[in-house]
Amino acid sequence: MAIDGLILLDNTGRPIIQSGFRSTASTYPLIHIDAFNNALSKALRPGDVDPVIYIPAYNIADSPSACCHVQCADMRFLCPVSGNVDPLVGFAFLQTFIDILREYFGNLSAATLKENFDVVYQLLEETLDSGGHPLTTSPNALRDVVLPPSLLNKLLNVAGANINSTINSGSGLGSAGGPFSSPIPWRKAGLKYTSNEIYFDFVEELKAIVNKHGVPLSSNVLGKIETSARLSGTPDLLLTFTSPQILSDCAFHPCVRLQRWTRDKTFSFVPPDGKFILAEYRYSPNNSASSVARLAAPSAPAASLGKDNVPIPFVVKITFDIQDSSASFDITLTSRLTTRPLENVNVELNLGEGALGIKCIAARGTGGLGRGGVGALDMGLGGNAGASWAFDSKKRVLKWEIASVPPSSSWNLRGSFSTPPVAPRPSHALQVRFEIQSHTFSTLKVEQLQITGEAYKPYKGVRGRSTGYVEWRW
């Protein structure tokens, strides 16, 4: 169940950093890099490369292997596995490692990682043993052994005081402050804060497909509880909700006691320090009702599924007029919300091969005027503030952006394009992304946060945020 190592490639396909590969031939990582670059060059779109590439044996003595890979910023992370290993272990480790890197460096890029080469290398050593077994991956424990590249750290280095050496010297091991001394693997021991605070962000994402009649085919809300904890000592928390039954299919951070959740639907946990994701869940509006229905009539589930759908907060009307080698269209987006605006609305439409000469008018309602320009990246600004459109001539994607769609307002994009000499074949699906601030689809409410084991009263905060990604067909 061990992976073989890790390779980071920059956007030209050259390795920047790689782990040891000590139990394999030295050519092994090279074969993987080569195979990956080959596959990438053959793919029509960079996203279309099979995520698990089969790598035949280089010579008879070797065995074939597979290369798992993910894209991250301008880099590719490769994770070769051989033997009958779970590729998900590879992907899970890649994700964990990327999360750790984010935690250390913020926004990732090949340049950042090159700059902080030594820290990345130390992280690799701590997280992946040379046999490919993942070791310490909890950020809390890692911060004890690998210092983040902070300003303070740099200052200390310049001043000649070497923190790494004192930490690594081992003298602290076993005593209270040393690494790996905490009895709870995800939490540091002996934390002290002057102000104790904990924040919960409920971030929900709506993913839906709407068919050409405006009926949602599938719509799902997936939520995450992003938590930021700065609490002293070892607090034991109990988080309760007013309507926990709307949380279904939960996946928890290891700190949450699963038995307690199963028994009385509460979150009981000792939190890690800093930022972490407490739980992920799926919002099902009539969870209790539908599960009863399913038990009662297992043969007629299709009907009950429909009720599970979460309403889409807007309506889109599209008309397309397609001629022999040109087309014109008219798209209207109307918000269904009554109190809050939809923000950062971003609509994308692929116009198909050969689309040229895009002319559009983006406006609010149906009356306003906006003008579009023509160029490599055609741009236009909406007449009455906030709406703009652009055409990415490389990907043939028309983008329509509206910064804020006030409640019940209507927005319109009209335009035309030509595709000589062939007939236009625009995609029959619009991709709409949007955000709603201070709103959750589930309207999940925290009832109480109890803290035991520590005397202080922390400052508590709860916020909601929603995003959506809807495919609207016409």
Partner: protein
Amino acid sequence: MAQPGQDAKFFQRGKIEEFRADLQAAETKDKKFVKRKTVLKKIVANITMGNDMSPLFIDVVQCLGTPLLEIKKMVYLFLVSYGRSKPDQIHVVIPNFLQDCNDRNPLIRALAIRTMSYIPIPVVTDALTENLRHCLKDRDAYVRKTAAICVAKLYSADPRRAEKGGFVEMLRDLMLDSNATVVANAVAALSEIGDRQDGVIFRLNLTTANKLLAALGESSEWGQIYILDSLLRYVPERHADAETMAERIIVQLQHANSAVVLTTIKVLLYLMNYMENRRLIDYCCKKMGPPLVTLLSSGPEVQYVALRNILLIIQRRPAVLKNDVRVFFCKYNDPIYVKLAKLEIMYRLARAENANEVLAELQEYASEVDIDFVRKAVRSIGRLAIKVEAAADNCIQVLLDLIETKVTYVVQEAIIVIKDVFRRYPGKYEGIIPTLCENLDSLDEPESKAAMVWIIGQFANRIDNADELLDDLLYTFLEESVEVQLALLTAAVKLFVYKSKSDRAKELVHKVLKWATEDVDNPDLRDRGFMYWRMLAINPTVAGEIVLAEKPAITTDSDRMDRGALDQLLLHTGTLGSIYHKNPETFIRNATGKALVDSPALNPHSRAVLIGMTPVQLPPTVISVPGPGPNETHAAPPEAVSTDDAEAPPPPAPKDSRADDEDEDAAGSDQDDGDAEPTGKRDPYSNLDGAFGNYLADEPQPLGANNRGGRHNEVDDLLF
């Protein structure tokens, strides 16, 4: 290429000299070893970037005496990288190794044995053996957990020495350690050893398995994966044991780590083979669905792995996800590999209740831009028509609409599947043939052309101008591919049989037979030409009966895998084997196969299809049922059926074997999915009324060729 390569070499050599000089300079006046540290850092940086630093071996090794952990770490890193390539120099380091193995700092003790275990050179292995024994009993957990992994490395360097030294037993003892990480690593090491073909067999008994479960809660996510995976090595002897264990691990489905979730599912699927309690089996199936769906909200890579596994799981346990077909609807922006995997699952989940919903989706996809995807979508519509009779009318209508679009690849794909639809529902849809004939000119691929020619030949009596059409097609006979030529030959003969009075038909068949036997080099075509010719010459009536013999209705083109093979593949859920749908021992060297192990608790239906590790050598009749299995009503028939089918039925007795098949299908789904109704209504495939048998290979084939699993193939081939 040679020039830049050489340049790089020079560049490197220069650097190595530089580093060496720096190291030597650092030996004097190195306050707090800052200089040495800097040079070593540079060297290590070069190692990890893949530059060869091995010439510095002696220089670097000399730094080992430096009393600073950071430097020690870097030197050890260097040794791990180049130690094994320096068998003649490695002895220099041994004293340092031995000293560090007894250091009072546990980090250093662990570092020393870990490094040694990566250098499979006899001198080092000798030195390691004794120290490793101590470290496995070290009072510090960090050292013990490191030592556990080292045993696996020692084993791969010298298996017999490791066995003689009693290390495997020591690992076994470590599985009962008080520290969860140590337990997990011991399990990982034992699994690594057990997976080797020359390794000892690693099985768990109930007590140990329970001990491991106790450690599960405290382990890291990676430790949980090792422990869960090892549970596949436990063979439950009683139904209750399997059931209790399933109840204990089911909570892990809520873990945030996707690999933990999939491993848990794998173990549950395995344990279900040994369970009796249908309610619990149902409950497990129900619980497995949502986490699988949750995996689909991850990145496309994880989605892909999940989808490939879901495809296997729903074939074996149709109850999982059977109401969730909407989850698999493709989005326009999904990567192509995700779309194709989803398409396959949608087809599998389709049944009468949701067929129209699925059809509407497929129709949507057929208008997309990606040719590959569109073709698969069109083909799926035809497969849907064959699979779900209730939806066949609508599917045909959609296919006709698609032909209307005149997009060539859509038309061709549609005609290929319609040919199969004709065979599945004889006498029902022949009315659409004229529409198909209108599109003759747009067919430019052999497969679609051959399909169209087959249709014309088969239904020549219903197509008024069949002779004209064939005549047109025959203009290019000699340039066509063999596939089309064969189809044309047969079609011409069929036309002649139908219309033996017509001069034109006579002329056509004569022309084709002459071409086939005289102008074509392909031996198959020539032989078939001669055969037809002889048959027609000797007795045209009998020839007609043979050529137009009633064909058995086609089964679905279901590539539903053989149950036994599925059971075996599911043991590899989440591994490379399940991605490629092949058992790993067939494509990974040194991989050991996994197979369900028989025990009194093994579910009789799983036992009936039990596949041994070397299934190929087993003659079909010797599948024995050892052990005092619980006597259940359904226990015997499947086996009896399988032997019967392999030997008995004469070719024209498809009805009988079909009936047998149905029985078993119903019984099987009844057993597995806990359905109370004897007809197995909840099995999505059962409402097809045995339209397709239980076990089918990839190809559409007549019902008579009862293909019961791979091992019967040869026998069947001989019969038909």
